[in-house]
Symmetry: C2
Subunit: 298 residues, 2 copies
């Protein structure tokens, strides 16, 4: 095993304590999860290690998946959000919440919540509080805690580290916080606001003229630090009209004097960069869609 | 719209021609796909833009997903492989093939195959041949063409750009090619070999002592260039024993004089780095599993 280390000079391919130990640890983790967290929470079971083969429409060769599929979408449905986990980055691909006057009112207390590991995620792919300690990054909520005052459990669910990403502290506590507050003010003045939040890893040109994606990873588990964050707001107005507002902020200090509308971007930009699609689904629900971008305001 | 550009200095968040045009283009693409490629191929439908909400076990709040889920696993089941597409990197997360004496024999001809866009992938997230042109990278097969001589269609299916990743030409034509040949020799001498191949994006330490993931992206569509590739071989022996061999090679020139066994790594390393899981599924099928790593040979 040791001899294989040399092949990855400088690169971090974590080498474990051997397969036997790894398998034993995994079985313990799965057992604990089934008896513990998964038994209590309304959580979609981990499908990454699902028993194969699933039904594959059009496949004449089910034999292909005899030993299973090594990874599929890892959905989590919780009191306050639905989330798709990205086991490679140790965080979420996207998180959806529904905000309205009811979800915003209540007496739930943030002080009663602690950031906690998400035991429903395999230990190989899970962020821990230790990963964040001393990293210089905040544990930034994707679905915001203050959006879910209606239920202490809903608020507590936002503290799972699967709903968290490493976020620049200044951003988290200022401009991004303002965007979250603005989402809530829209929810108070409309029928519903659906909020989808997630990380972006955007390329930039370097001195050699080529484009590179570069991002830090923190802690023993290599939790990915996004270069940017997106937030897509789908407003249901009392009139029945649907309004779309999509924002991107860099994961760095942002002057909170800059008006939020300056961070509006065309939804297409987020769809291209994130690998996600929003508009096709919305158009299945309504033909009364209005997209607000900074351009609309001119 | 223009005013929002400034917020991403140096970063590439592709700004399109506005939402209206984008939506129209998307509708055309979806229409074409349904009548064209998707109508003819045994392809799992694109689920990223699936009509929401799906059944979410344990969710008391289906209302949350009223406007759909922005992204889910994008499986493709083809003649020669099952693949999970990664719309963010414009390539696959993993590809599984089954090799045995039958799949290796036949007269299918590589010269009759052309690299082709995968029209079943949304145009925002699809690699094109133009992305590779002049990039300095080969269009490297994940499921190898020469593994599927049994059927011209199976071979042709390996030429979809969803089964391709940007690969260093020297690696593609030498050491990686040798690993593919070795997989075939194992398939000739065993009952079956299941091969799972995919990209890795491994972090490395930089001068500031912090860990970073950094990779190039090529072409207009920002196709991600993996830092490494993995190949996991699951051997079914005539005796019934299952043997596991897992390899990692860097996406750079590799001296082909180096024995392939030096590139063996513990499966756990690949599982941690890729966000995938192999062993739990295999253990559901057999208790007779032997893992071969370089360490076994000492």
């Amino acid at each position: 095993m040791l001899r294989s280390r040399w092949l990855l000079p400088g690169a971090s391919l974590a080498l474990g304590a051997g397969l036997g130990a790894a398998v034993a640890a995994r079985r313990r983790a799965e057992g604990d999860a089934a008896e513990g967290l998964l038994g209590r929470l309304p959580v979609v079971p981990v499908v990454a290690a699902a028993t194969g083969p699933p039904a594959l429409p059009g496949s004449g060769r089910a034999e292909l998946t005899k030993y299973g599929l090594p990874g599929l979408a890892q959905l989590r449905s919780r009191e306050s959000y639905v989330l798709c986990y990205d086991p490679r980055s140790r965080s979420a691909l996207w998180v959806i919440e529904q905000l309205n006057r009811e979800t915003l009112s209540g007496t739930s207390d943030r002080a009663a919540c602690d950031f906690q590991e998400d035991d429903s995620v395999h230990e190989y792919h899970r962020a821990t509080n230790a990963d964040y300690r001393g990293s210089g990054f905040d544990r930034g909520h994707l679905a915001a805690a203050a959006n879910h005052k209606w239920s202490q459990k809903a608020m507590r669910d936002t503290f799972y580290l699967s709903n968290i990403a490493p976020q620049n502290p200044h951003l988290n506590q200022n401009a991004w916080n303002n965007l979250e507050k603005y989402s809530r003010s829209l929810a108070r003045n409309n029928k519903n606001v659906y909020v989808c939040t997630g990380p972006l890893y955007l390329p930039r040109m370097e001195a050699d003229g080529k484009m590179y994606v570069k991002y830090q990873v923190i802690g023993k588990n290599n939790v990915a630090v996004p270069t940017h964050f997106f937030k897509v707001l789908i407003l249901e107005k009392e009139s029945g009209e649907i309004e779309l507002r999509s924002y991107v902020m860099p994961n760095s200090p942002v002057d909170e004097q800059i008006p939020l509308e300056r961070f509006l971007v065309p939804i297409e930009s987020i769809e291209r960069a994130s690998g996600l699609l929003f508009v096709p689904n919305i158009l299945k629900r309504t033909s009364n869609l209005k997209a607000i971008t900074a351009g609309n305001k001119r």
